[in-house]
């Protein structure tokens, strides 16, 4: 198939970017979206032009590196997948495809389609862990039974890959889904109880400092999340935050 691509090009963080048109022929339906971009890049290199830079690594939907806004949707038209799992069979011959980086104040563009997501790391650094040293002699793993339902719900929250699609999908560029996933995981597990109040307060404070917007419950994040992280996590984080505030 033949495709008409409109792709965001930006030399570096300080440069002004723009959309650039490319036409690409010979795309096959069983190629992945990123393989389509690989082919375009090979063409650009052979013409002596600079290839389009985009973030990607595992190409199997788990590392969370790839991050493209395709026709206005994070990770493209399909649901429950990342861009690297998107295949060209989701498109038709002659389609125009608009490809942009994540758009959010807290995710500045580094080059072309690559954004800086270190704000997510800093939110995790503020409290996304259980403070236990590596002693090799903590209590036996089976000493504290955890109800299967609770363990499974914690796992569902923990499955977040930190890609940033939730932020890109949100009209407020809010990071509530991302932050609440980690808060929920530990709020659900007995091991996370001790630091629960500090954790939610510190992580929310960092989230606000980074310049992410607030949550207005539109739910776009949940729809675009490639791992199906539920909005219930945001509700749980709000509860945790409220009860932490009462404790002072």
């Amino acid at each position: 198939m033949k495709l008409y691509l409109k792709i965001w090009r930006q030399k570096d963080a300080s440069a002004k970017g723009q959309m650039v048109d490319y036409t690409l022929d010979g795309v096959e339906s069983d190629m992945s979206f990123l393989e389509m971009l690989d082919i375009l890049n090979e063409e650009l290199i052979s013409k002596g032009e600079e290839p389009i830079e985009f973030d990607h690594d595992c190409r199997e939907g788990i590392c969370g590196t790839c991050s493209l806004q395709i026709n206005g949707r994070p990770h493209g038209p399909d649901t429950m997948i990342t861009v690297c799992q998107l295949h060209m069979r989701s498109f038709n011959d002659g389609d125009e495809i608009v490809i942009e980086p994540w758009r959010a104040k807290a995710f500045p563009v580094i080059k072309d389609l690559i954004v800086d997501r270190t704000a997510f790391d800093r939110i995790q650094q503020a409290g996304g862990y259980i403070s236990v040293n590596t002693s090799g002699r903590p209590v036996d793993a089976n000493a504290i039974p955890i109800e299967k339902h609770i363990a499974d719900t914690a796992m569902d929250a923990a499955t977040c890959i930190g890609c940033g699609a939730c932020v890109a999908a949100c009209k407020n560029a809010s990071a509530m889904l991302f932050t609440s996933a980690k808060v929920s995981q530990f709020a659900l597990l007995p091991q996370g109880q001790v630091e629960a109040a500090d954790r939610v307060q510190n992580m929310v404070r960092q989230m606000d400092l980074e310049g992410f917007g607030n949550c207005t419950n539109t739910g776009a994040c949940e729809i675009e999340c490639p791992k199906g992280i539920s909005l219930e996590n945001i509700a749980r984080m709000n509860r945790e935050y409220f009860s932490a505030s009462l404790k002072g």
Binding site: D12, E49, R59, E60, T65, H87, I114, D121, Y129, P145
Partner: protein, 667 residues
């Protein structure tokens, strides 16, 4: 023993680690504050080592090429992590895990290291649960286990099909806690380009800031390389696109011996190649072999009809199918080790029984598991005489709960529903058992330079068992390296900070800049990927699942020619002074082009078949691997001497005091 001193502690096997920990030197807490450690790579091994060393009080600097430590490729490990907990009461023990690992590795690993690995395995589970890793649990609230290839017990702990992700996020959390305390300084989007030696000791690295293109100098009292494996040498593999051998290869060029480069794991259950555009391959977890049955048609006509789309696999009756693993290996069936399963698939496909368009795929079928689970569920739900459709529906739900995310991944890539028609799979490069040679302390042949996780060679011999990579990465990082590195650093308590303005740093930086300039000066027309794909084809066709003398000799010649062409002609647009993904790739492929030749040379020299290394000249009449313990019971450790063809072989003889060497049989 020659120049290789493995430093295996004396005494009985079971006491070695405890004795060693008691005898090695420690650094007192106040002095740890004056000691810097660089860790390159932030996957399970690097991340866990960084967190633990920082907890102990050392100043740690971590480096990763990804935009966050959380994205290291450990995250993609699906199936699980082994530990000798014996929670299932099925007779597991430290000894049995040790024995299975040595046997699975086809008797080419070091006994003492493997025993230590088995010994600390259960601590890993305790540690991770304490960190809040949400492992799968049973209804009683206790941890669940499943079984993996090459073993007869259930010792694998898992978190859905995302165990690597959860363990890595645990280590990442532990790192974050230390970053927040200021004990770890994390450098992301940075790549190590060289190792700096001062007075023969590893004292720092030269790194490139991948965003700005800046070349930076970083010093430390010790350098830990936890940079994973080198399977991307094959271009197509299940590795992340950026995975590379640069850090390990740079260290090799500076004096670290490279061990067993030809020991590569080709994983049996991956999604087959669909076309020339393919950029990477996707693994389907080995856990699927708990319930999936592997088969090809019995008759060649049927295989051809399936390839041409004239026949559907579900139309073939049980009698018309060849469940070749169950036929050849009745004791282990579909759960034979990976090397055995991969070779058996290749054997059937080479014989003309492959089932996809290219003839390079076999079926992985869940129909009988779906019916078996469905019947059980119907019985426990009190249904009397349910029809087949009801049973199938119930069974599909159970299979979905177990493997849902893997089935979804398959469907997205292949566009076929694996609940209704069998999956098609084929082997793909997945892991490298070879790596930097290390002694019992995980130190390479360069003092102060350590290697952990997949980057070293020590624990898996010639074939790694499933769910053992996560175990080894975390064992090295949480429980081994933090102790053993202290023994070396105890001499450095009065050294003070290592300056970066020394002639050694000047020289290393100059080397790096010269090399980049040379890369950028290529005058040809082909991109980096062009060369990488060519290298991959040579490797896959001549150094892949089966090898022979003629092919290996050709490969050595072809790789050397390709390397020459690459250095003269590779075309890299843009400039080195800014973000430049092509330049990043070029540096990595340049090293693969050297390693590839050494790989083939190692495979040529090892005139036996063992584990993942199958030499066609050395096989039994039934086509099983023929090991030669008399002549090849050693680790090949290669010393860099300029061109790969000049590399010098050193042998570490493997001594088995606690295990009797046997022909590996899974029949």
């Amino acid at each position: 023993m020659g120049v290789l001193d493995s430093k295996i502690p004396s005494g009985p096997l079971a006491d070695k680690w405890t004795k060693h920990k008691n005898e090695i030197d420690l650094v007192n807490p106040a002095n740890k504050r004056n000691i810097d450690i660089i860790i390159v790579g932030t996957g399970l091994a690097g991340g866990s080592a960084a967190a633990t060393l920082a907890e102990l009080g050392y100043n740690v600097k971590t480096f990763c090429y990804q935009d966050s430590p959380r994205r290291a490729h450990s995250i993609a490990a699906q199936g699980g992590v082994n530990a000798a907990k014996n929670y299932q009461g099925d007779g597991d023990s430290v000894y049995r895990l040790f024995y299975d690992t040595v046997k699975g590795g086809d008797y080419r690993s070091r006994e003492s290291n493997v025993y230590r690995l088995a010994e600390v395995s259960s601590n890993i589970i305790d540690q991770c649960v304490a960190q809040g890793v949400p492992f799968a649990r049973e209804y009683g609230g206790l941890l669940d286990n499943r079984s993996f290839g090459g073993v007869l017990v259930s010792r694998t702990f898992y978190a859905k099909g995302q165990t690597g992700q959860q363990l890595l996020l645990g280590a990442y959390g532990a790192m974050n806690r230390q970053i927040q305390r200021g004990k770890i300084k994390s450098y992301t989007r940075h790549e190590m380009l060289d190792l700096v030696l001062v007075d023969g000791k590893a004292r720092g690295i030269i790194a490139r800031n991948l965003v700005t293109g800046e070349i930076e100098r970083h010093s430390a009292h010790a350098v830990v390389l936890a940079t994973g494996g080198y399977g991307n040498l094959f271009f197509l593999s299940t590795y992340a696109m950026g995975a590379n051998v640069m850090a390990a290869w740079r260290a090799h060029r500076r004096g670290a011996f490279f061990a067993n480069p030809c020991f590569t794991q080709i994983h049996p259950t991956c999604i087959p190649v669909s076309g020339d555009h393919q950029s990477k391959l996707t693994l389907m977890s080995e856990s699927l072999r708990n319930d999936g049955r592997i088969w090809v048609p019995k008759r060649k006509e049927d295989a051809i009809a399936i390839r041409e789309g004239k026949l559907k696999p579900i139309q073939l009756s049980e009698e018309e199918r060849d469940y070749y693993l169950e036929r050849r290996y009745p004791a282990f069936g579909n759960l034979v080790p990976r090397d055995v399963a991969s070779r058996a698939a290749k054997e059937r496909c080479d014989a003309g029984f492959g089932v996809n368009k290219t003839g390079e795929a076999v079926f992985l079928d869940f129909a009988s598991a779906i019916m078996r689970y469905g019947k059980e569920k119907a019985l426990t739900s009190g249904m009397k005489d349910p029809d087949n459709n009801t049973i199938r529906e119930l069974g599909e739900k159970i299979v979905e709960a177990k493997y849902g995310n893997l089935f979804q991944m398959y469907e997205k890539i292949v566009d076929a529903n694996p609940y209704k028609t069998p999956m098609m799979i084929y082997p793909a490069v997945h892991y490298t058992m070879g790596g930097l040679w290390v002694d019992y302390n995980l130190q390479t042949t360069i003092p102060g330079c350590y290697a952990a996780g997949e980057a070293n060679f020590s624990d898996h011999g010639a074939n790694r068992l499933g769910a053992s990579a996560l175990m080894q990465g975390l064992a090295d990082g949480y429980f081994v390296l933090p102790y053993t590195i202290g023994d070396y650093l105890s001499d450095d308590i009065r050294t003070g900070a290592i300056p970066t303005d020394s002639p050694e740093f000047d020289a290393a930086e100059k080397d790096v800049r010269d090399r980049m300039e040379k890369l950028m000066s290529g005058t040809g027309i082909h991109s980096v990927d062009y060369y990488h794909k060519k290298l991959g084809k040579i490797m896959w066709n001549k150094c892949g699942m089966s090898r022979n003398e003629k092919d290996l000799k050709e490969a050595i010649k072809e790789i050397a020619e390709l390397r020459k062409d690459f250095w003269e002609n590779v075309k890299i647009p843009g400039s080195p002074d800014s973000k430049n993904q092509e330049l990043e790739k070029a540096g990595r492929v340049a090293d693969f082009l050297e390693l590839g030749e050494l790989f083939a040379k190692d495979a040529l020299e090892r005139k036996e078949s063992c584990g993942g290394h199958f030499r066609e000249e050395y096989q039994t009449p039934e086509g099983e691997a023929l090991r030669d313990d008399e002549n090849f019971k050693f680790v090949s450790a290669w010393e860099y001497k300029g061109e790969p063809s000049a590399a010098k072989l050193h042998k570490e003889d493997l001594v088995y005091e606690n295990i009797k060497l046997k022909t590996r049989s899974y029949k």
